[in-house]
Symmetry: C2
Amino acid sequence: MAGDKTYIDISRAKCEQRDRLIRDEWKISQKLALGNNVLEVPRTCGVLSEREINITEYNDALDIIERIRQQVYTAEEVALAFCKRAAIAQQLTNCLTEIFFEEAIERARQLDKERAVNPSTPLKPLHGLPISLKDSFNIPGLDSTIGMTYFANKPATEYSALPKLLLDLGAVLYCKTNVPQTMMTADSDNNVFGRTLNPSNLKLTAGGSSGGEGSLIAMKGSVLGIGTDIAGSIRIPSVCNGIYGARPSSGIVPFAGQQSPEDPGMPGIEVVAGPMAISMRACSFFMKTIMSAEPWRYDSSCLHLRWQGQLNSRKPRIGVVFDDGLYTPFPPVRRAIQEAAQKLRDSGVDVVELRLPNVAEAVGITYGMFALDGCQFVQDLIKAGKEPEVESVKRVNLAAIPKSSLQDYMDLNAGRRKLQAVYHDFWLGNNLDALILPPAPQTATPFDEWGPISYTMLWNFLDYPATIIPTGRVQESDVVDGEESALYSEADLKNYKLYDSTETYRDAPLSIQVVGMRQEDEALAEIAGLVDSILNHSETG
Amino acid sequence: MAGDKTYIDISRAKCEQRDRLIRDEWKISQKLALGNNVLEVPRTCGVLSEREINITEYNDALDIIERIRQQVYTAEEVALAFCKRAAIAQQLTNCLTEIFFEEAIERARQLDKERAVNPSTPLKPLHGLPISLKDSFNIPGLDSTIGMTYFANKPATEYSALPKLLLDLGAVLYCKTNVPQTMMTADSDNNVFGRTLNPSNLKLTAGGSSGGEGSLIAMKGSVLGIGTDIAGSIRIPSVCNGIYGARPSSGIVPFAGQQSPEDPGMPGIEVVAGPMAISMRACSFFMKTIMSAEPWRYDSSCLHLRWQGQLNSRKPRIGVVFDDGLYTPFPPVRRAIQEAAQKLRDSGVDVVELRLPNVAEAVGITYGMFALDGCQFVQDLIKAGKEPEVESVKRVNLAAIPKSSLQDYMDLNAGRRKLQAVYHDFWLGNNLDALILPPAPQTATPFDEWGPISYTMLWNFLDYPATIIPTGRVQESDVVDGEESALYSEADLKNYKLYDSTETYRDAPLSIQVVGMRQEDEALAEIAGLVDSILNHSETG
């Protein structure tokens, strides 16, 4: 009987079932992964043709759409190329959960066929674009285990709102990606599919909770993936893997109908869906496409905000925050934000150095809101799955979290409203178009060591949109410095000491975070594009 | 010592203070109010000049703005005329709380002067328009008692967000208007200022909680006032007084910084501010003006929705709901909605008869959300003010309301999200541009008898915008019919039996309610304008 299977049996069956969905001719020799950095293996492993390497390596999402549109590529060959590359990524980093490559290739073939039959029908905005999804999105017939044994072998019967919209816009969905048990930590490790690895350095965390997406996209097994973010779950794996990722304001991208580790009536910090990609413009294009598609028709909780298509003409004014006053950034992280600020200044941007108000208070309220039910709902799910906690979940110490009362919640709510007004005044008072700051004090860390999340979580608390822009990698010059740099607290010092050598952090990506005003996601897309072009695409950049 | 004063002493002082702010030459003889209908008294009492009668009687908010713009009227004479007429209204209906006529006239004089000095400076969109405000809005130096002794003689030190925005847009504020003790009932009666009367019939309720606004506007002592609505508090007094009133979607009109009878962290049903006026187009103009003014700069909780300025070209499709399945409309209310539906059909509108889903469940969740804290916060305010409950509050029986737990709240929240999705599908599935339905089963009732609020409250629960359009008054032909008409429940029958004769309800206004899709306030403004023109301004209408 199924009920008697242990979590290990269930995991073995799930993984075997998944692995059987990779064609034999796409299997690679494990010997190919010799070093800790496996980013080059897809190109060299012999599974991909030259043309498939070109398709997957030298195109972002907009290029793919344009080249299918111009009939340089067929939708089918694009789908095939990304399925193969995703299969290679899976074998190297364990980034996938549910695979539906054959259905995707068949859908792409159908899109090509329909186009051939009706050549005058206008193509949909995402015609033929392969898009990968975090495991929490429901697709009929597939599990959404979200890293929990309890949800294994309970296939979804309905689409979540967003995949339905993406399909209606012409996209090709082909795989779902791995997450942490509970989706509450930054290490994508669980008892169903195991741990996702970081292809830049297999000894560092891939981040989480959208860690499978981060790893897959870094491997160019996907040009555009969808993650979710309640405290940094899009941005942390974007940082760890050196890709772009955007946490939209809440209510803009449809979120309804996902598998969740929370009580369905849970109030508080809003979890949102958003894009992860190999280019900034792909994130912005995703936002534009969704906001132009009346997404509220797919999700009754979506706002009726529209993409305006208007550009800001004034000279941008950007605040820069070097640290959040709670945790000291690692030396390479300090370098990344300092270099970014300098390049923006050199390009004529009006850069003003700022300190963030009330961060500790905001962090306290946010943690309070996350744990309103004492994390009882998720603990019940773990118990129901008869599985142990993975290491990163153990470190949270769920059992020690107290339950809140309704008055506690109202006090947290009042505190949040007050600080939202404080930041509102801070933003308008400083006349900002954007803020840049580190996305975390750390880079990707060794497993289960991901530290403070105040740098990302603050923007969930405030509901401001925030985008990750990669800017480089740890260098030999990012030497370990004295402990006297980290003076905020014992916790600060403990985290800071994790940066013990450039060797441990070899090839770890660096990024900055660009933050916009709440619900001004369109304005943020514009200014993040400008920042990216100055940092990554200018001749002096 | 002030602390030893009884609530009666405090009330007497507050009322005397208020009455002293009415110039002696604006005082009328109480003998003028001979019948129950005092709507004609301002015109006949001799206080207003011919020109002041013309200014106040034959102009809506847009006319006033246009005639000041064209220098047909000065801002000062407009302010003076409305202050005088508001003073007359106050003497007949007790609709005002705080009076600041002299400051308003002085501000209008300044606006005229600045314009004369700088004739080329573009006028602000509300230049010179007098706007009245519900008592809950804070104006520095004035009390916001919201009908509670506790708040008397505690003048505000800061503006609420909306009056600040209105002043920045050029408006002239001149008075605040009466509400029920607690703002939680539909009878604007309290121990500070007493009861506001309905000028259409002094023996019927003026409604609430924005009852002072309703009465003042019906007297044409204001062309545009601002109310607030959490269950019908804009719409009920609009119905009772035969004026237009709109409950916007939440987050569109700034609400921050008001006096409140609730815990500042209270979650649940959103209370909103919105317009009340003598014309439909004034309500729409208000929404357009606010949505075009980046209102989020004034209130950090405002959405960043913009007025689009685009018209819908398709033939409108309007659902009509004759009753809500819980409460049977009075005979004149039935006539009003039936006649409205017929006129729309006759004008070529695609009208489809519908029944609302899950109303009882929605009502249950809404009441649960209103009473999360067992109404303890407001009971504490009453106790702190050492005042008794007024009759309409007594009937609520606050002490009997149980407190909810956090899990209770999460269950209510989950239920609300589910029903919001049900209505979303209902709306899209029926391909609606709007719904029309009665605003209540009753017309204005005798004092303290206002009955079911399910017809208005449902749209707060769903957060859909809803507008009141007056269509006529009770007629002799609206005869009392048999009790067999009201069969839903004992409560239904009890309410229905209140309609005991056309004489009791003489001159009671009739209205319909026009509902739009959540956050489609602009689309609703357009279609409500069309409905109003068909019902009230067409040759056959």
